[in-house]
Symmetry: C2
Subunit: 403 residues, 2 copies
């Protein structure tokens, strides 16, 4: 039987001008003027390959050639009025918020249509900003009604940002709404880092630090009591590695036990009041509420799968990014999973994503029978990397977009 | 033979009004007015125990009762004009800088006298701020001439601070001067974290994150080329744990190799220009230039000593802090080092600190013969913790002082 493969981390978006029909018409004139002066700085969004982002037929064809039958769709291209960023929304100044929020709404509406072009094969992720929680809640309700089963992409909050940190109770209506509607909350690598100066050392240091800034959301939500108040909420940490998780969970559990120790140390005094509201240990919230969009997993990550939780991990191809596994996903899967038992492989490659994002595995099965890699193929170790395969490294073009 | 023990992490400072004679007289009136209205918020600086910070005889006596013969002295009390912080200097607004810098100079001058009261037993650490590099260099030269062999305490720079990040070349005169004079550069845990809101969740999250913000200095200096340009510089990471080091060095080496790979990935493009200036791998700079003031090491840290480098690690009691090992340092040493070979134990408890901070081990030997724990005592495992012993946890009172 062929393996059914879902990519839990893919990217899509419209070509800039194609967002226009999805943009509120009161903004068309402003958009036209803005778009005329806009120069897209991203090579991969100008090249012929860029059509992968929005050409539904091309996308399905290339996906299937790569052995994949369905995907979760994060953003990728430039939304209206976004100077740089789209992958994760920024926290704009009040004067900028209104038109950027409209730009994201246009993307979300385009995404709903794009998903509808391949029913059951695409789980689109809706974007929100954190500046106005009522707006965010309204957009989440719209996205749910519009069938964006990918849930919501929540941007990170860098230290010193103009909006409160993610652990703040002001965001509770967002978590409550997502829990109520069963919308997963996604947090994608590249987000939450402070601004960056354009000099060589800042750029190098940024690469070293950027994943940590995305990881922060995990303990912000845990100690913020978000999973305590919303036991059904599903939170997904995507494209920020997975090998950090066991160590961080141990650290968080350590602090939790110190905070709850009831002794008079300064540590308990500091952390006690927050921890006393939590009925579970951090690792227990993780095991109940959290998932990992582990994207192009390295062979060094699979030995940690039981510590992280086999039922929490979701592979992704990162299509159409250069550093993703396309068009060598079959080889990438062999490389990382050849020695993983079939049942666990199926959970990481399809079952978990189906559970989190609502894919119907029975409906996808005929596609897998047609295009999926065979179990025998995936059980073969990869002896050499395909020529032309890029390294599965962090998506830096994406990060740049996140500023 | 008794073990010679040096604490590479202790704290001292004057009672507030005793800084007055060390303060430039033009500021005396301003100081008197400020001091009158100042209320010290720290319980341990008001209690009878506070005299440990400045009473030379009491300090020596308690140190010796604890089996220790010499110590490196970081700050602890409130320097003139400091609203909260003293342990690590802040980055004040321009209007505040002048008098805070004068406050630190008063502390440094007091510290030189305090060290002179016990020659060879105290290595005082001089404080600087980063707002004015010329001032900092002048103070380092003064500190060297005044015999402050503890070197310099460099404050961390939180994201978004008003001064450039630690990797900035504007600080090169500081590193150059320290290298030239053989002054160690110390970076103490609690520094470099962004501000903190006074609510329970912020406090808990702060504890989880604060050490990472101190660790950042390591890769900022490495990728900033500081150790490349100043091969003789000695950099000490104090009271921020040691168990994170092997993992971080692996990560930094990984990025370095990616940055140097010469390929066209975005990662190489980002990090390449900085890494191409570095002739060594991050772990090689660490092994040449860096030391760890590991303070109250836990038994779980000694198995990592070869990965970190036995010749890099320095134990400390954190006297007079509550969470330090006093008055149970003998027990703490047995607990952590009973199964560490004598030669390695001696390096971590004395030899490395002597090399970094210029202690004369021969001159200290008679004191160790008189008060040090015997080798036999230290070789005995600790079967139960002394009643009243506090847990060796991170120094949070200290952190509060660092804001």
């Amino acid at each position: 039987m062929n393996q059914l493969v879902i990519s839990a981390d893919s990217h899509a978006g419209a070509d800039l001008l194609d967002y226009r029909p999805y943009l509120e018409s009161r903004l068309h004139d402003e958009f036209d003027a803005w778009a005329k002066g806009y120069v897209n700085p991203f090579a991969d969004l100008q090249a012929p390959e860029a059509t992968r982002n929005w050409d539904s037929d091309r996308r399905l064809r290339e996906l299937e050639e790569d052995g994949i039958v369905a995907e979760v769709l994060f953003p990728n291209t430039i939304a209206p009025f976004f100077p740089m960023a789209n992958l994760t929304a920024p926290h704009p100044a009040p004067g900028e918020y209104e038109r950027l929020a409209a730009g994201l709404r246009a993307h979300n509406r385009w995404m709903a249509d794009f998903c509808a072009q391949a029913p059951g094969r695409r789980a689109g992720v809706a974007q929100i900003m954190l500046n106005d929680v009522d707006d965010a809640v309204e957009e989440i309700r719209w996205a749910h009604a519009a069938g964006l089963t990918g849930g919501v992409l929540v941007p990170g909050v860098p230290p010193g940002a103009s909006v409160p940190p993610l652990h703040s109770e002001v965001y509770d209506p967002i978590w409550r709404t997502c829990a109520e509607l069963g919308m997963p909350v996604n947090h994608h690598g590249g987000t939450g880092a402070p601004g960056l100066e354009p000099n060589p050392v800042s750029l190098a240091v940024f690469i070293v630090e950027v994943s940590w800034y995305a990881h922060r959301a995990l303990w912000h939500l845990i100690f913020g009591g978000v999973f305590e108040r919303h036991p059904d909420l599903r939170f997904v940490l995507t494209e920020q590695g997975s090998d950090w998780i066991p160590g961080v969970l141990k650290t968080l559990d350590y602090y939790y036990s110190r905070f709850r120790s009831g002794d008079a140390t300064a540590e308990a005094k500091f952390g006690g009041p927050a921890a006393s509201r939590l009925s579970l240990k951090p690792s227990e919230y993780f095991a109940r509420n959290c998932y990992v969009g582990a994207t192009f997993m390295k062979p060094s990550e699979t030995p940690l799968r039981h510590e992280i939780g086999v039922e929490r991990l979701m592979w992704g191809s990162d299509f159409p990014h250069d550093e993703g596994t396309f068009p060598y996903s079959r080889e990438a899967l062999r490389r990382t999973f050849h020695d993983v038992p079939a049942e666990e492989k199926t959970a990481i490659l399809a079952g978990n994503a189906a559970r989190v994002y609502g894919f119907d595995l029975d409906a996808l099965r005929p596609h897998a029978d047609r295009v999926g890699p065979s179990e025998e193929e995936l059980a073969q170790p990869l002896t050499e990397l395909p020529e032309g395969a890029t390294s599965p490294v962090f998506n830096l073009e994406t990060i740049i977009r996140a500023w």
